[in-house]
């Protein structure tokens, strides 16, 4: 199990957070993004139009709005091995 360390934050006494394990060199994380059609998905398009480059292991699922996100999507993704997920809108 990951160890945790106590950290004093601004408004709470020492909250324990997991210490991230150091990253094995050849490991390729699977990242999943839930993006709102109007803003984040459009921003992803714009970064392509401007030929900006970013790591390839993120894939984007288009949604009508981030409000549409259901916990079961994120949990389903994690259960099936996705390493990280973010929601952008």
């Amino acid at each position: 199990m990951a160890q945790s360390v106590a950290v004093k934050t601004r408004d709470t006494e020492n909250v324990s957070i997991e210490v991230p394990l150091e990253r094995p060199s050849e490991w390729e994380p699977e990242i999943l993004a839930f993006a709102c059609h109007y803003c984040a998905f459009a921003a992803a398009d714009l970064s392509g139009v401007m030929r900006l480059s970013y790591p390839y292991n993120v894939k984007i699922i288009r949604m009508p709005c981030t409000g549409k996100l259901d916990q079961s999507y994120v949990l389903r993704a994690f259960e099936r091995g996705v390493d990280g997920a973010f929601v952008a809108g």
Binding site: G48, V49, N57, K59, V82
Partner: protein, 1010 residues
Amino acid sequence: MNMNTPTNTQKRGSVLIVGGGIGGMQASLDLADSGFKVHIVQKESSIGGTMVMLDKTFPTGDCSMCMISPKMVEVARHPNIELHTLAQITSVDGVPGDFKVRVIQQPRFVNKDKCTGCGLCEEKCPKKTHSEFEQNLAVRKAIYSEFSQAVPNTRVIDRSICLYLTKGKCRICEKVCTANAIDFEDKGREYDLEVGAVILSPGLKRHNPWLHQELGYGRWENVVTSLQFERILSTSGPFSGEIKRPSDQKHPEKIAWLQCVGSRDPHNANPWCSSVCCMYATKQAVIAREHDSNIKPSIFYMDMRAFGKDFDKYVDRAKNEYNVAYRRSMISDVREDPETQSLIVRYTGDDGKLTYETFDMVVLSIGLEPHSDVHEFAKTFGIDLNNHGFAETSVFSPVSTSREGIYVTGTFQSPKDIPETVMQGSAVAGSAMSLLGEARGSEVVEPVLPPEKDIEGTDPRIGVIVCHCGINISQTVDVKKIAEDVKNLPGVAHSEDMMYACAQDSQAKIKKLIDEKNLNRLVVASCTPRTHAPLFQETIREAGLNKYLFELADIREQCSWCHMGENEAATKKAGDIVRMNIAKVNRLEPVTTDSVPVTPAALVIGGGIAGMTASLSLADQGFAVHLVEKDKALGGLLKQVRTTLEGAEVQDFLRTRIYDVEKHPKITVHTETVIEKSEGFVGNFNTSLSNGKQIEHGAVIVATGGEEYKPEEYYYGENRYVITQRDLELNLMEKGPEPGSSYVMIQCVGSRQEPVNYCSRICCQDAVKNAIAIKEKDPNIPVTIIYRDIRTYGLREDFYRKARDLGVLFIHYEPDRKPEVTPMGRGVSVTTYDYMMRRPVTFQADYLVLSTGLRPHPASEDIGRRFKLTRNADGFFLEAHVKLRPVDFPSEGFYVAGLAHAPKNIDETISQALSAAGRAGVLLSHDRLGVSGIISKHDRDLCMSCLACFRVCPFDSPFIDKDGKVSHNEVKCTGCGICSGICPAKAFQVNNFTDDQMIAMIDALTENIA
């Protein structure tokens, strides 16, 4: 001039719009959406105008391109709009409702049907020149597109520098173009267009500061124009958003903005104020600091003209949060320090001494001025220009030119900001609709579509098309491999790769495939669904398939373009993206969209000038109007105003307007009436009034107007020598100025200080108008105006100069040192601190005139609550989008006009009223309101009425039905899906985004790792 002149000729259902800037685009969309054919004639190779060159806009800081590019795509794709780029009008004949115009189109040398905008030609073209779009800070090729998101994005060849067209050599672009779209034989063409009305929106030219050698533009490299600085700020600009000095590419620390370059300068440039420079300078300073926090901006100005809605708050935030230094002094010249190429500026400091300050960069806030060929332009269209070269219009009909049937919008009418331009766009659309009312829909052809194939109960047979997009995708992603890999996935009946999926021939091929292979669903892997999904949806609809049985996998913008050089990983990722969309399309169901009837009538609340103007315009368009006024008579606040700044008689105009409204057959006036109860939704409102009447209507225009602030300061009410501008105007009109008396005026009484921190926009004009009236009657009556900023923006600047020429004294005061008033036997004495002489001065005034501001009308609070229309902190109604939807409310079917939205002048109120009528006209012109396909569907059997959706839906579409259970009003639904995210019983599913479809996509994406 009456709004609706009867003409005998048959009317045409089409409109010509000259100029494709934001004003022209807004007018074209409003007209096209309400059944008129629109022709946009644009001189440059792409529409967009000035707004596309901007990085961000004030006061919200939204990025300009993100706001305007969806509009441009909508214009390009709209079936009723035809774009004529690289074209100009040479002659206009005919009568209002039936004009014949001659168009000359320059050759583009690129075939627009073949070119897919892949950009290969531009890459290979050897000939470079300065890019006008990037304000000469970057270079472009002979074959180019103006900017990366140009519409149409077909390339164009600049024949003045193309090596082949000038010297007969090269033709490289033709060789590399895989779509063989290059056509050097293109001669351009000349043709006629028959239209019912003409709208002029050519915009304005930026003043070229080269004229002012003393400011160093063109001599010192680090002196740039404000538009150049806008490109420097822009992430798609020459330095991709990194703020650098043109001379040594270093990050500047101290930047100075010099205001009024070419404006308010009658001797060697333009006498008028360009209205927008104070605000864009503030915005540029703020955005610069956001990019690079150690930038120290200073703005040198005469008057800080932040007169618009929330502008003062924006300037205060710039001062306090972004510590932009504002120096109230004009700079006469700029010198360069040769070693550092920094710039030295000289001005009088607060302590009165002459101070030299060095800046790394100087930005010249250049003003706006008419195009150089404006006179010839006016001659072509047969319209008059005013003495400054803008289109001649009157205060009371600000969008009609001197020639009937020809309208003007935007900066060509006078310098203005984006919201006013968009308002005038909708206003001219409204006016054209009034003129051509009965010809609506006559020139618009509805495409005939085959019946939809019933695919109920059939297994999915998916067609998969993987696009090369020339080399844009295939250079990074192995397109053939993907087409091969997905061939035998469940549900896939056919898969192949195509060079250009969006090209006309590919579209035809897809239709053939659907028939031959009996396909019932389609996946296209190419660019972004946001721009190209509608194109493919229309194609499969024409092949008899429900258009929602389609998904576009984005493997260009979101894969090949951003993983260049990592072909193996990019191919794998593209494969995942295509498989994800195939999994989703397997589960897509056909979506039927129903529609709701629209009652072709409008409810207008408030019988002031705004409400009356909107009512007349809507009635002329052919819609019934119910005008509700709470007082005994129509007229509102304008009843107390005698003349406009320009001297036009207000009461005569008001009387004719009231007469027109009361006699118009289509308008029912309800005076001494308020709203009792109102329910329903867009297109289907049902309102009961306090006079017992029950009315049905499809739209609501809120014009509840404003109220004059009754001052408590400066002994008003206690001392009869202390009056307001209104009182002064009245007794000037009746008795004229008292000989031997003296007047002192104080500005910003009750405005621009917490808790009322906004500018009421009209008080400076009132003061200057009255001061001129006094001086013209009796020049030796002393008149003194004590002010904070004189905000006579736009063409009103002439009157400020006229007042100074007539001897009116102007003295500046700061809010922390307000003028002190002490009542005397007769009149009052006013003491204020003079910043020029650096000591207090006292005036004996027989009359102290207070310029009081405007407040929102108390009735707006009740109307706001009743119709759930939000208001901002100052109590004015909040529009849907400050720049692009200035008259719409967020909820559909509601529009605002006049002082209820924000303080404004008479002509601006009339523009906004016409605009609201135009927007409402677009809605009411449809007899049925189509409901979009991508909406949330509610299953009442699963629903347990727990009200979670009822509480979170931003559009109030779930409601408690008569049987006490929750129902869902699909017309109000925008398909955001917040209800389905929170629903514990999973009773809500959004079409094409159902839970099982989303889960299927996640499963497909995680197949190789689960």
